[in-house]
């Protein structure tokens, strides 16, 4: 047992809660991918079930995030680190919300996805899943080994760039296709953009992780 843990009990408690938060985030990324894929495969029951599971985790994550913020407010860290962590948690909190909103949009609009787009969309989902996992690893490194943060952040950027490329090709296919009406084109554009926004957000948060790691190690 690390003898310093006796002195820094509160700090380690925060660290443990943040680790739980990251596991939730990874679970959500997994459920998001599964739920979206179920929709694309036409399994509406599975889509609904996974969507509900995701909402439950999002609620638990919200509660846990609030607990962490309250613990931080009770001065368990130095003001500088505390402010940085609160700023970061506010940013991180937007990622689960983006999963929820993306699936809520699908559930509400029930868009008909053309068969040609399903494989690229699954590819996008796969990259999104990997991006969020890399974000969770980057955040984990922020609390375990600052040196390892950069490589995970670079992985997030790589995945985001892949998502961007697929998204652009999908949009090109939609708008070059004369079969679709303009309203459908804009509906599909919205769906793709919403999916792309998740990785954009993951990249923003990863940048914040890198800023914190750089600031605290220099």
């Amino acid at each position: 047992m690390n003898p310093l843990s006796l002195f820094f009990k509160k700090q380690y408690a925060v660290e443990e809660k943040i680790q739980r938060l990251l596991r939730y985030l990874e679970d959500m990324a997994h459920l998001y991918k599964g739920s979206y894929e179920a929709y694309l495969d036409g399994s509406s029951d599975e889509f609904t079930q996974r969507n509900e599971d995701l909402n439950k985790i999002e609620k638990e994550m919200d509660d846990l995030g609030l607990q962490i913020q309250m613990t931080l407010m009770r001065e368990s860290l130095m003001p500088d680190s505390r402010d940085d962590l609160l700023w970061f948690l506010t940013k991180l909190d937007k990622v689960p919300s983006s999963f929820k909103h993306s699936l809520a949009e699908i559930a509400l609009e029930k868009p008909e996805i053309p068969q040609d787009f399903k494989v690229p969309l699954k590819k996008m989902l796969d990259h999104t899943h990997k991006a969020v996992k890399a974000l969770a690893h980057a955040t984990d490194s922020l609390f375990t080994d600052l040196r390892a943060v950069r490589q995970h952040v670079e992985e997030v950027s790589r995945q985001e760039s892949e998502v961007d490329q697929v998204e652009y090709k999908l949009l090109q296919s939609v708008f070059e296709n004369e079969k679709y009406e303009l309203a459908r084109k804009y509906q599909l554009k919205g769906i793709f953009k919403q999916l792309g926004a998740v990785t954009n957000l993951a990249e923003d948060v990863a940048d914040a992780v890198l800023i914190l790691a750089t600031k605290h190690s220099t």
């Binding site: 860290l77 680190s81 962590l85 922020l142 375990t144």
Partner: protein, 417 residues
Amino acid sequence: MAALAAGLTVYWMTKLGLPVSTSQAIIGSIIGWNLFSDSYTDISSLLKILSTWIICPLLSAVIAALLFSISKIFVRKIGVGLIHLDGYTRLALILAGAFGAYSLGANNIANVMGVFVPVAPFPDMQFGQGFSISSAQQLFLVGGLAIAVGVFTYSKRVMMTVGSELMTLTPLAAWVAVMSHSIVLFLFASERLEQLLANMSLPTIPLVPVSSSQAVVGAVIGIGMLQGGREIQWPRVYSIVKGWVITPIISCLLCFVGLYFLQNVFQQTVQRDSNYQLSASVIEKFQKEGIETDGLHELSGTIFRTSAEVVRSVKDKVNLSSKQGLKVVEYSLQQRLIVTAEKIADLDNNGLSPVQLEALSKLAGQTYNYPWQLGDALSEISPEWIVLGGGLKDKLHDRDIKQKLAFLYRIFHRREL
């Protein structure tokens, strides 16, 4: 009056939020006293102290820049997370703060209370068997409590100036600033380091009172400069430097004016009468110490009332360096010493070795017109009383002998009163 003038100056500057130095204020007051009382000021010692007011912040800046670079590399290498790093930094800050406060206490209590030690008004306090608090310890306790009250009342603005107005410091930078300032205080205050350097025949660092405020401000600027200097609030730096320049001047003026009022308006005695006389033995002593004596016999028998007056008169006749001026003052001061057996018995060794004490005992019943004559007599009896004057290696030994002699001069002179 000197302490009051210094205290008032520091109080005023602290109210303005400027980190000023107690040492600077005290030096200013002493110069005010010297000017008022026409006492001789050793210019070379004064220049040495003034030079540390420039060297101290510069050295602190260099140490801070080095330490900051090393710390950054260390933090990058150790591979811990943000929360662990926060914990370690917090612990390091607490320890560095405690070390800094300890160094400050060890240095500054002398600035605050040192001048009162010879006239401490408190009797020794005895608590049961074997535990007592001497009058000097009581004095330092009062000083310590007063410093603590100062921290609670007026230090916040100065803390804000150093901590955030000069530059926004990260916790690591704050730790580096405190450590650098403590290292600088240690360098200028450690007799052991001086001895070590002397033993290695390296130049020693002068043991002079340096300003902790200057050291900490220098450290913050050093860190800022390492990062390109853009974050440093230069207007604030200029106002602090202005404070450093005017502190000794204000303190000097306050002391001078205060002494004038004490003496001429309130009819108080502000100065003990002293006589300086160049007798034949004094001139012979000058010769031994390498001071030119041609024409000094004309001054023989003249009584000078102030140390500056005797130095001026000697300078009119011969060339005199600043250090020699100090020797002229030391050797020409008339102070009748009576060495009595009772006083020697009361000494109860007091840091004197048995051989030194035995040599002193042999002089019981002797009287001297000049204090240095006692020193010379002792060195003739025992080599343990000899001031070697052999350069760096003998520096600490010589200082020890001189401190013991100064103690004896006070004891035997006071007994006569």
